[in-house]
Amino acid sequence: MEFGPYLMLASLEGAVTTAVLSLTAVGLSLVFGVMRVVNVAHGEFFMLGAVLAWWIASAIGGMGGNPALGFVIALVLAPLVVGSIAAVADLTILSRIDYDPERTIVATIGLLYIMQQVTLMTYGPDARPVEAPFNARIALPWVEFADGRPQIYWPWGFGTTTYKLGVIVAAAIVLLGVWFVMARTRIGLIMRATQLDRDMALAFGIPVGRVYAFVFGLGAGLAALAAVLVVPIQQAHYLMGGDPLLLSFIVVIIGGLGSLPGTVLAALLIGMSDGIISVFFSPTLAKIIATLLVALVLVFRPQGLFGTRATR
């Protein structure tokens, strides 16, 4: 394939990665920003979202329902269920250990294994597909200059699917929604207040405990939502939470812990570079560069690209 279409194809693939990654990473970033805890089980909430989506979609399909209907119900229900599980985990586990950073890490590692193994025991080791609500292949045209004038042609294999474009659009809408909630609503104000100064928020009568449970649930719900979006492209599998967790951490560190715009920008950077570098060089190089970027950010700008330096 010629260079131009090839680059375009790689960018399209990178954009899908970016869309999913930014949703997942924003969830992680919210939890860290507001609660100051590192949620190692974040990737498993992602996985749980995908597995639930399969369950819901196949239950609806089993009742003779339309696959698109099953997907839409999964899109609504799976994040809610996963969010509730996370909120319960917060109230029953994390609040009991007082959100102590080290113990939270250990506790969420425990959660990670519990969720992963319970999924293996119930759902099994298979990778299972969910049918996309719409999925048409679009052949893309390309312009080349021949005989001194531009000509449109359709390169072989150059195309994408409507569903992939749909994922990008859906992710953008959800991110705008998250921004709106954080910046323009009362619950967003409460979350930001809690993020800025927990004790002061408590003194002003904000039920910090409930805010924490909500944020933890919201973070997990966003991961689950990203997973539901991606599950028609990749299948639901009990080990699928590893990659999103690692990439989310990379993104959150580069973007600045707790900063939403930073997280989205970093997701764009990592997603696109992963798409393009792995096409033209090697996927390993893409990972090396991403990790190197994390190291450089930690050395030269520890608060991340958009983070504010801690005042303490």
Partner: protein, 430 residues
């Protein structure tokens, strides 16, 4: 205080009798323990290294079911040398380091007679040296070429499943004469994929064809579209083989990439093992060809042995579990567990195996085997075992996707799969 005195008083008579009885039993223990070792009562312990977790879990589950069914058949027919077979299954996490530890547990903790069952080649590579050191006969069901290549040791054998080199080599004539001579290969970027790359490239060149491009994909990859632009436009056949949880994504994206104008496709069923051919997005596979180790769908000329084997393991005519039609078997690989257990049985019977001291003679007995006829013990087909290379050879199947089913198109002969020996393990000492 008073309570304990009282209870002590009650147990005095009976307790003393009991203690005596236990003492008497304990006194005879060395006697019957020795008897068990030399004679027939204790079961034969077969350590089963199974990929219960990790990326091999879908295979592990079916290996487990097949092994359980084979052990049941052997036990229902009176066991081995009059002793029952006990399968001691242990998860290796599809991880080489854990695999070596599991082998060690078999040898030292469970006192297994043999180890058995591993599939993924990196786990075999990690475990086989330890099995050799511990002198534990280690029967792998992996299809890797590592046994026949001479990289392992005398204690490691692969008598129940053919290796990649012979499979690949037998495919080349069919591909070249029916599908095309200009091939692009897509394979996972580790030992298993490299075996495909090396052996198929050589085999197709021997048929007058050529490989235009090798596309290696990291085994952990989850998105594939970005690799496909590397496929040269004059490709006539795409040869694909992928493993791991993302196989369905791979095949779907391949279809989306080409749209209506695809070249011929020839795949190893590994790309779709444990995956329903009827899954959404796989319609474009209609008319493409697959290598299968053992045809997943019951064919028109299905043998009575395949029928009985299917029923014993619990697989329906579409290759799915009898209890869940969405639970697709790893049908092209798992027969190896069934056949290997039967070979272990015959080896133990031929060598008069009585205990771990006879391990060397068990291996010699298996090495002495050669032709194995198509039978209930070998439902996949006849086999020819090479005692020198510790590798078996057998028929390979090529099926064509027709109306959402895999229909047999070609069966290779055993001769198609043979290649010159690369090692003679029988010259190594025990």
């Amino acid at each position: 205080m008073t309570k304990s005195v009282k209870s002590g008083a009650v147990t005095t008579r009976r307790g003393a009798l009991k203690t005596l009885g236990i003492g008497a039993g304990a006194a005879t223990l060395p006697l019957w323990a020795r008897y068990a070792d030399a004679q027939s009562s204790a079961p034969i312990k077969i350590g089963f290294q199974v990929h219960r977790t990790g990326i091999g879990a879908a295979y592990g589950r079916w290996y487990d079911r097949t092994t359980t069914a084979a052990a049941k058949m052997i036990n229902d027919n009176g066991g081995i040398n009059g002793r029952m077979v006990e399968i001691i299954a242990e998860d290796d996490g599809t991880d080489p380091k854990r695999g070596a530890e599991v082998v060690e547990k078999f040898a030292t903790q469970y006192n297994c007679d043999v180890g058995f069952g591993t599939l993924f080649s990196h786990v075999v590579f990690g475990s086989a040296p330890r099995a050799g050191e511990l002198k534990l006969p280690y029967f792998v069901v992996s299809e890797g070429h590592h046994v026949a290549s001479g990289a392992l040791n005398r204690y490691t054998l692969q008598p129940g499943i053919t290796d990649v080199k012979s499979q690949v080599q037998a495919m080349a004539p069919f591909v070249a004469s029916n599908l095309g001579k200009k091939v692009t290969m897509i394979f996972p970027d580790f030992a298993f994929g490299h075996d495909h790359r090396d052996f198929f490239t050589a085999a197709i060149e021997a048929q007058g064809g050529q490989v235009l491009e090798h596309i290696a994909i990291p085994p952990t990859e989850t998105s594939f579209t970005r690799y496909f632009p590397k496929i040269p436009r004059d490709t006539e056949v795409i040869y694909h083989v992928m493993v791991g949880p993302a196989v369905l994504t791979f095949v779907k994206e391949l279809g989306e990439f080409f749209g209506p104008s695809r070249p011929e496709l020839f795949g190893f069923i590994d790309s779709l093992e444990a995956v329903d051919i009827g899954s959404a997005g796989l319609e474009f596979l209609d008319g493409t060809y697959f290598w299968e180790g053992n045809p997943r769908y019951a064919q028109e000329n299905q043998s009575e042995f395949d029928k009985a084997y299917r029923a014993a393991v619990g697989v329906d005519d579409n290759g799915a579990s009898l209890s869940d039609s969405k639970d697709i078997a790893t049908y092209s690989h798992m027969f190896g567990c069934w056949e290997t257990l039967n070979i272990i049985k015959r080896g133990m019977e031929a060598s008069g195996y009585a205990g771990p001291d006879d391990r060397a003679s068990l291996i010699e007995a298996v090495e002495a085997m050669s032709d194995m006829p198509h039978s209930l013990e070998h439902p996949q087909g006849a086999k020819r075992f090479n005692g020198k290379t510790h590798q078996t050879f057998g028929h390979q199947y090529i099926t064509r996707v027709t109306d959402g089913k895999l229909i047999l198109a070609h069966t290779t002969s055993i001769e198609d799969t043979l290649y010159p020996d690369e090692v003679d393990y029988t010259t190594q000492s025990f």
